[in-house]
C-alpha cells in the first residue's frame, strides 16, 4: 500500500510540475505561436499525469471500476480533441496575420502564401 | 476544499469584470466562455452535479457558439 501511495504521489508531482511549466510559458513567451507550444505542455503531461493518478487511485484504493475507467476515457478524449483545436487556431492565426517573432529568419509558410 | 472554492470565486469575479470592460466583442465572448467553465466548477464544488452539467454545456459551449454565429451574421459589427 505504501508503494502505491508513492507512485500516485509521484504522478501528481509530475503533473503539477509540467502544468506549472506550461503556465509560466504561456505568461512569459513573446508571441502567440510560442504560447501555443507552451499550452500544449499543460494539456498533455499536466492533465494526463493527474488522470493516470486518479485512475490508479480509483482502481486500487477505492475499488471502484467506474472511476478508473472514466479517468482513462477522459484522458483519451483530451488526447484526441486537443491537437484538432490547436491546429485549427494556429492556422487561423497565421491566415489573419497575427504577429510572429521570426528570430531564425525561416518563414516558409509566409513565403509560399503571401497575404 | 474551501481554498479551491475561494480561488474559483476570485476567478469568476475577474472574468466577469473583464467581460464587462474589454473593448473587442470577440474577446468579450471568449472571457464569457471562461466564466462559464468557472461557474460549472463552482456548482460541482457545491455538490450539485446535475446543475453543473446543464451550466457546463450551456454556459461554456452553447452561448459562445451562438454569439459567434450572430457576430458572423452582422459581419463583426462594422459597416
Amino acid at each position: 500500500m505504501i508503494l502505491l501511495r508513492i507512485i500516485i504521489d509521484a504522478l501528481f508531482l509530475i503533473g503539477g510540475f509540467f502544468a506549472l511549466a506550461g503556465v509560466v510559458g504561456v505568461i512569459r513567451m513573446p508571441d502567440s505561436y510560442c504560447r501555443m507550444q507552451a499550452s500544449t505542455n499543460t494539456a498533455t503531461l499536466g492533465a494526463l499525469g493527474i488522470l493516470a493518478g486518479t485512475s490508479l487511485y480509483g482502481f486500487f484504493v477505492l475499488n471502484s471500476l467506474a472511476i478508473g475507467v472514466k479517468s482513462i476515457v477522459i484522458g483519451l478524449f483530451i488526447l484526441f480533441s486537443n491537437p484538432v483545436a490547436s491546429h485549427a487556431i494556429a492556422r487561423a492565426a497565421k491566415r489573419c496575420g497575427v504577429y510572429m517573432l521570426n528570430k531564425s529568419g525561416c518563414d516558409q509558410y509566409g513565403r509560399d502564401n503571401p497575404q | 476544499m474551501s481554498i479551491v472554492n475561494t480561488l474559483v470565486i476570485i476567478g469568476m469575479v475577474v472574468c466577469a469584470i473583464v467581460t464587462a470592460t474589454v473593448d473587442d466583442v470577440l474577446s468579450c465572448i471568449i472571457s464569457m466562455g471562461a466564466l462559464g467553465s468557472f461557474v460549472a466548477l463552482e456548482f460541482l464544488l457545491l455538490h450539485a452535479p446535475d446543475v453543473a452539467i446543464a451550466e457546463g454545456s450551456v454556459g461554456a459551449v452553447l452561448t459562445p457558439v451562438i454569439f459567434i454565429i450572430a457576430l458572423k451574421k452582422v459581419k463583426g459589427g462594422k459597416e
Binding site: G15, R35, F77 | L41, L44, A60, P64
Partner: protein, 88 residues
C-alpha cells in the same frame, strides 16, 4: 482511506492557483488568439480539478461532468478559429 485527502486537496488548490495565474493572459492578451489559448488551458485545468474532486468525494457521477466539459470544450475553440479564418 483518508490519508490521501491531503494530496488531493493540495493538488486541486495548486491547479486553482494556476487558473488564476492564467487569467493574466486573458486580461492582457494583445490579440484575441492569446485569449483563446488561455481559455483553452483554463478549460483543461477545470477538467483536472473536477476529476480530483470526484476522486476525493468517491462518486463516479462527478466524472461525467469532467467528461462533458472535455468533450464540448474544444467545439468553441474550433468555431472561434473558423470565424477568425473567415474574417481575414
Amino acid at each position: 482511506m483518508t490519508g490521501f485527502n491531503v494530496e488531493l486537496t493540495i493538488t486541486a488548490a495548486f491547479y486553482g492557483l494556476l487558473c488564476i495565474a492564467l487569467l493574466y493572459r486573458v486580461i492582457k492578451g494583445p490579440h484575441a488568439v492569446d485569449r483563446v489559448i488561455a481559455g483553452d488551458s483554463i478549460d483543461s485545468m477545470t477538467v483536472v480539478i473536477m476529476a480530483l474532486f470526484g476522486a476525493l468525494s468517491n462518486r463516479a457521477v462527478y466524472f461525467d461532468m469532467a467528461l462533458i466539459v472535455s468533450l464540448l470544450g474544444f467545439i468553441s475553440t474550433v468555431v472561434i478559429s473558423r470565424y477568425l479564418e473567415g474574417r481575414s
